[in-house]
Amino acid sequence: MNMIYLLNHAIFAAFLSLIAVELGISVLGLAGYKDYWKKMKPYLMPMWEINGTFAVFYIVAFEAMYPQLLTLVGTAYIAPALAAGLFFILRNAFLSYSEYIGSEKHEKRLVGVYGISTIIVAVLAISILTSAVSGSGVNVPLQSISIAAFANVFNILAILSIVLIAIFCTKVLFGFRGNAVLDIGMVALGIVAIIIGAYAGPSYLLFSLRSNFDIALFVFELLFLFVVAVLHASGKRLARFLVIPWLFSAILAFTVFQYPYLFGMEINMLAYTASGAISGYVVFITVAGGLMLAVSLLFLLYMSMRKPYRIISSNRRNRKKA
């Protein structure tokens, strides 16, 4: 597989995984402020800016890795993409407002706007994605889209599927085990929805897997999900650590099935991939920057798991006394 394609889609999978968790948080937060929001807030607060930065990361990585596709993508998707941009600002703004507003009444309202904005951003982003994958409603030579790009079975089922899977992943991640059978039913419905959607739309995605590796990967992802679901149902903490890796690998698997096409096999991405000297530097910056990001995130994780200093020092004093 082409290195640039793999890197670009790994960034995409990381971005979509983080946004999917935020989508789940938004839906659950709107459904139950007291039951869900308060438990999810400590995770979201140090992370929301990083999630947002992944959006920029993906946009710029795409610009760097597929420069010759930008005229088509930029011209065709201007309306939904910039509308998503405006709701993205609302998402950032209202979440940051809510953090220190103080009053619970105000916080609940601000979180509500954050949740609705995030859901709208996610729906617009999924719609752009499904349209780019399937090519439905896209006129490639004219670089334009019609309403059919979004009003089609694949897109509607993909939105439903991703929302259900996002809720499942969020519930597993935060250990919400109200009704595990319902959760498993939800994710199963999500999987069925995306399979039916692919059948109705870009059937090349799942119904003409081109190699044994593709088939093995598909089976592996289903088994991986099965393990996560069983662990979640049986209340094992391991499920919380495995669910995001599953989500990431499942999204990446879809991009492997898609390889190397865009717009329903109309465009072969390999013909548009950055080449020559610039591609080497792009890979270098991705790897070097990725390493810096990984180290920074590990430091963030280390600090967030550390006890407050006063507790550490009082524990030391107690040990000395003992």
Binding site: I50, L82, Y309
Partner: protein
């Protein structure tokens, strides 16, 4: 029917103008918070420590709105100017890509600074995290300015081959980091961003002191300390902005001669060039200008006999709109005004006027801040209009790069309405946050 290009231009210009305002605050706040925290820790001064804590709240809100508006600008670049970004993607994308990681540096360490504040043994270690945030914010500005410098002085590919065949050959992707205008422009952008940003804080503290009225004396001390720190930083930032501004304008004549000629309203290349103040281009002549003999040649080249470029060396259809000369005059006038402002402060200091409480001086600070922000915006707009009709000088025009989709029209309107709502609402929320967290209780008075 208006061309969609007009809406593309408007949308981009408006989004950038708003984003710049958020960026300058996002750049200066980490520096200011860092200074306050270090001074507060070193001197065990609760006023400075409270200042650092309270401004951190404002920083989070500005960062949230600012980064999102930055994302919108990034999306605007792609969707309003797809052919431009397609070109940049093949030649000059590396600084834009590197900027993402500067952005990550900022985002990750903001999380550490705020949510792990009580987990550091040393307060200096906690403050050191803010150094990384400040570096991330400054690097973002540096990298994105590199792209702008490329637009002004493109390099890294064979331009004549591209213009004759449309093919990109002789590519050197690293050249974008070091174009002829890169380092001069980077220095000036960073300096002026800090300059305008710190004056916003000066104005805020002056306003709070004016409205503090009969509040507790400790509250007044808090704002006086905040204002004094802001003024010290403002002095350094102003000196840096003036120095880099002088270097920028004196280098412009050799590296961007057409823009220079438009700014100075020079019709013909000449020696012993006069500095023109005011004036208009009419029927092939400059009229109604006040001319100071030889001054322009001296300022640009260091010698009265020095040659300066003229617009007649370029085809008339590539001349920028000549009202940039008027913008340049205004810029120079107000830049002198800022210099005069500091001289006036010095005189008042010798006259034993209290610069941290006198009501007239407080009003002066607020006016100075408005001028500083105006200077920044005027400078950016002048620089961008001064490159017209090119988006990449001599290579691609704005009209060639634009998105001609009719969707740009409602989007441009939506962007204006959106910012018209979000900016005042952000100010309102900040007021609500701070009214719920009384300064008196943060200072331990209540």
């Amino acid at each position: 029917m208006l061309s969609p290009v007009i809406f593309d231009r408007f949308d981009m210009g408006f989004s950038l103008a708003v984003h710049i305002l958020l960026v300058i605050i996002g750049m200066i706040l980490p520096v200011f918070i860092l200074c306050a925290e270090v001074i507060g820790t070193k001197m065990k001064d609760r006023y400075y420590l409270t200042l650092a804590r309270r401004l951190t709240l404002a920083f989070i809100v500005f960062f949230g709105v600012g980064t999102a508006s930055g994302t919108l600008v990034a999306a605007n670049l792609l969707f309003l100017w797809p052919k431009f970004m397609s070109f940049v993607g093949q030649v000059a994308i590396l600084p834009v890509y590197a900027e993402v990681f500067a952005f990550f540096l900022e985002a990750v360490f903001i999380g550490v600074y705020i949510y792990s504040a009580d987990k550091f043994r040393s307060r200096y270690a906690h403050a050191a995290v803010m150094v990384l945030i400040a570096v991330g914010a400054a690097l973002s500005a540096v990298f994105i300015t590199m792209l702008n410098a490329f637009m002004n002085t493109p390099t890294g590919f064979n331009i004549s081959a591209y213009l004759s065949t449309g093919k990109l050959v002789g590519l050197n992707p690293l050249a974008v980091f070091n174009t002829p205008s890169t380092w001069v422009e980077v220095a000036h952008v960073v300096a002026t961003s800090y300059f305008a940003g710190i004056f916003v804080l000066v104005a805020y503290f002056a306003f709070r002191l004016l409205s503090a009225g009969k509040r507790n004396e400790e509250v007044r001390i808090y704002y006086r300390k905040a204002l004094s720190l802001a003024l010290v930083i403002a002095l350094f930032a102003t000196l840096a902005a003036i120095a880099t501004g002088l270097i920028t304008i004196s280098s412009l004549y050799s590296i961007q001669p057409e823009k220079y000629a438009a700014l100075e309203l020079d019709l013909y290349p000449t020696t012993h060039a006069s500095e023109l103040i005011g004036g208009f281009y009419s029927n092939g002549k400059i009229v109604d200008a006040i001319a100071i003999p030889n001054l322009q040649s001296i300022l640009a080249t260091g010698s009265a006999a020095g040659a300066v470029p003229g617009l007649s060396s370029y085809p008339k259809d590539t001349w920028p709109p000549l009202f940039v000369h008027f913008m340049f005059d205004i810029l120079v006038f107000f830049a002198f005004g800022m210099g005069a402002f500091f001289i006036l402060l010095l005189i008042l200091k010798f006259a034993k006027v209290d610069l941290l409480s006198n009501r007239y001086v407080m009003h002066l600070y607020i006016i100075a801040a408005a001028v500083a922000v105006f200077l920044l915006e005027d400078g950016w707009i002048m620089s961008e209009i001064g490159r017209q009709p090119w988006i990449i000088y001599g290579v691609m025009t704005v009209a060639q790069a634009a998105n001609y989709s009719a969707s740009t029209i409602p989007i441009a309107i939506a962007v204006v309405l959106f910012y018209a709502f979000i900016l005042p609402f952000t100010a309102f929320i900040l007021k609500l946050i701070f009214s719920n967290r009384q300064l008196e209780s943060d200072l331990g008075i209540k």
